[in-house]
């Protein structure tokens, strides 16, 4: 999945960010995050310490179960990588994510 290896032609952009919001990266913010990542053509990976996975996959992003205070690692490689990483950092470091739909919505 994420097999990006840094070469001179194709440098990896790498950052760590911490979730500041009091809610974690739940369904709705995760969807917004993935939408944002999908706006870029570069390959982007995200992980929380263990393995990295596709940042453009909603399944993977929710599966991170990233709660408040979680430190996330984001790698990007390819065209627009730097820009992508910057935008994603701004998103993750927001003070509050959009609220969840109400609990009884199920």
């Amino acid at each position: 999945m994420w097999a990006g290896e840094a070469t001179l032609d194709n440098p990896v952009c790498q950052i760590t960010v911490q979730i500041k919001s009091k809610n974690g990266l739940h369904m709705r913010p995760a969807m917004q995050f993935v939408d944002l990542a999908n706006q870029y053509n570069c390959e982007i990976a995200i992980g929380n310490g263990s393995e990295l996975g596709d940042a453009k996959s909603i399944m993977h992003v929710i599966g991170l179960a990233a709660g408040p205070g979680t430190t996330l690692e984001i790698h990007a490689q390819g065209p627009g990588a730097e820009e992508a990483v910057g935008a994603l950092r701004t998103f993750i470091e927001r003070e509050t994510f959009d609220p969840e739909p109400p609990k009884d919505a199920k």
Partner: protein, 579 residues
């Protein structure tokens, strides 16, 4: 090709494509495929994703129109998950890399995600596991071709394969398209088997792991004569079975030829053969097969597979239709026998720990008087149309019989007041199907017009064996000396009281028991329509003298196995084709 052995419960042979249905979790076989099939499976998986997305988009739009905002959100989330490229890639990678079916790949990838979600400490995330399972089920439904709500709307012929079939599911079948039934669980007298027999659909049950072997759309042969199911038959087998099926139909025709002849023993004893039915239409089949009326109309099927209880008019029209089909022949209507494994719309939320010993049948009716009276009114109203009789099920003592009769009288009084016509002398009978009723038959006989021995429940209650539990179902046998002695008691008491007697359990339709029943003094049998010709053939081949002799011998035997073997050998000599 794979051959599975089970229990044959409804005769006949069908060949067709299978449709897998399951009431709860899908159990997905890990089924290896040839590498050359991988592209086909990948395409199936893609189609399933596409179909699921279309279905969800439709649902989402419907919610938008009706303003169901929150539900719409959920569908939107599911749509997002289904469109996830990494999810789809993992599914196709698994099919490609390990040469497995689309079902297996979908189930294992989604279950892996669900497990990861479920582990999360954050409850909001862990609860999302349920969404993943929901998506898995939706995809599997598209892959396995199971749209359960569509079972009644089938448009092509199928063989239904299931882990276990509930009476409700079987009642909902579109009979024109269900050509065979095969299930993992069940026994000879499970309700799916009874329904299959009454509809004349070949069926095999107790196949243990059939649902793990077949895949929706596979070609399957159901051999309801030998108790075999053949998955993916080769050309030679199909040819053999087509020939065999023709032979079987020829035998059926031969049996049909005796339709017009009376059910009379060689020494001139006249036996009455009646039919057991669930639906009014089946009365026609009974008559076509040579039945002389309806000995058991199981009315609980009026209650199954519908959101509300049937109204008095619905009861009445079903009964009127049946009586109309039967002209002047008797129609015995049994009041609802619900509870245990069949439920009404008032299905209990707290399941009973021991439903067969719980609130079922007449007990249920006596606690739900409004419902019971609705049915009795309809039966009474139908009683002016022809020789209708009413029968109460599961009477376990005189008290219950008196209570039920009292309510019947209440309803009669109501009808009198309203000036509605009914037959004041309508016969009232009971099912004798508990050991307590059998042992007090002489008392019960004073207060009713006829007995009908329900051998299925009588056997199960006497031997304390759940007939649907495959772990003990081999212990279930009407040939057990305890059961035979009880049956004899009931018959003798009916004779002494000079009331009518009928046997309406499965025992009355199994070739090996016919002689012993005649020998015990039974002269009326009620059985499922397709089996009437065969039973008549046996009756026409024996003499009452032979039957009496056989019965005396058998009553002297102490072991079920000895009796069973003896009865089977005797019947085999009479009608070898039946075995």
């Amino acid at each position: 090709m794979e051959i599975k052995k089970g229990i044959a419960v409804s005769p006949g042979v069908s060949i067709g494509k299978c449709l897998i249905i399951d009431s709860e979790d899908y159990r997905i076989p890990r089924r290896q495929i040839e590498p050359s099939q991988r592209m086909v499976e990948i395409q199936r998986a893609r189609n399933a994703f596409g179909d699921a997305i279309d279905e969800l988009s439709g649902l989402e739009q419907a919610q938008t129109q009706t303003g169901g905002g929150r539900i719409k959100d959920i569908f939107a989330v599911h749509l997002r998950l289904l469109r996830d490229r990494s999810l789809r890639r993992q599914v196709t990678d698994l099919i490609h890399g390990e040469s497995v079916t689309a079902e297996y790949a979908v189930a294992s990838v989604l279950r892996r995600f669900a497990a990861r979600f479920a582990e999360a400490k954050d409850t909001y995330i862990s609860e999302r596991a349920a969404d993943i399972y929901d998506i898995e089920r939706r995809l599997l439904r598209h892959l396995l071709g199971d749209k359960r709500e569509d079972l009644g709307r089938l448009r092509e012929e199928v063989i239904v394969v299931a882990r276990e079939l509930s009476p409700t599911q079987t009642a909902g079948f579109n009979k024109a398209f269900v050509k065979g039934i095969a299930s993992d669980a069940g026994g000879r007298t499970s309700h799916a088997a009874i329904v299959a027999r009454s509809l004349g659909i070949p069926a095999v049950v107790a196949l243990e792991d059939l649902t793990e072997i077949v895949r929706g759309g596979d070609a399957v042969i159901v051999d309801g004569n030998r108790g075999l199911v053949i998955v993916d038959p080769d050309a030679e087998t199909v040819e053999q079975y087509e020939a065999y099926s023709r032979e079987f139909i020829a035998l059926e025709h031969k049996l049909d030829a005796i339709r017009e002849k009376p059910a009379e023993t060689r020494d001139g004893a006249r036996i009455t053969l009646l039919g057991n039915i669930e639906f009014p239409d089946e009365a026609e089949i009974v008559l076509a097969k040579g039945g002389e009326g309806i000995g058991l109309y199981r009315t609980e099927f009026l209650y199954l597979n519908r959101p509300t209880e049937p109204s008095e008019e619905e009861h009445y029209s079903a009964y009127a239709q049946t009586v109309h089909i039967c002209h002047d022949r008797p129609v015995v209507i049994r009041t609802v026998d619900l509870g245990a494994d069949k439920y009404t719309q008032r299905k209990r939320f707290a399941p009973e720990p021991n439903p067969f010993l719980g609130l079922r049948s007449i007990r249920f009716c006596l606690q739900n008087l409004a419902m019971f009276k609705t049915q009795l009114r309809a039966i009474l109203r139908a009683s002016v149309l022809g020789p209708v009789k009413v029968m109460f099920p599961l009477i376990s003592g005189i008290q219950e019989l008196m209570q039920a009769k009292m309510i019947l009288h209440d309803v009669m009084e109501d009808l009198d007041e309203e000036g509605i016509a009914y037959n004041r002398d309508m016969e009232v009978g009971i099912m004798v199907e508990t050991p307590s009723a059998a042992l007090t038959a002489s008392t019960l006989a004073r207060d009713c017009d006829f007995f009908s021995i329900g051998t299925n429940d009588l056997t199960q209650y006497t031997l304390a064996v759940d007939r649907g539990n495959e772990l003990v179902s081999t212990l279930y046998s009407p040939a057990d000396p305890a059961v035979l002695r009880l049956v004899r008691t009931v018959i003798q008491d009916a004779y002494k009281a000079q009331i009518d007697l009928c046997v309406c359990g499965e025992m009355a339709s199994e070739p090996e028991y016919i002689m012993v029943l005649l020998g015990l003094g039974v002269r009326t049998l009620s059985l499922s329509a397709p089996l009437i010709p065969e039973v008549k053939q046996i009756i026409r081949c024996v003499t009452l003298e032979d039957c009496n002799l056989l019965t005396r011998k058998v009553l002297g035997m102490n072991s079920e196995r000895q009796i069973s073997n003896y009865l089977r050998n005797a019947a085999r000599k009479v009608l070898p084709e039946a075995f």
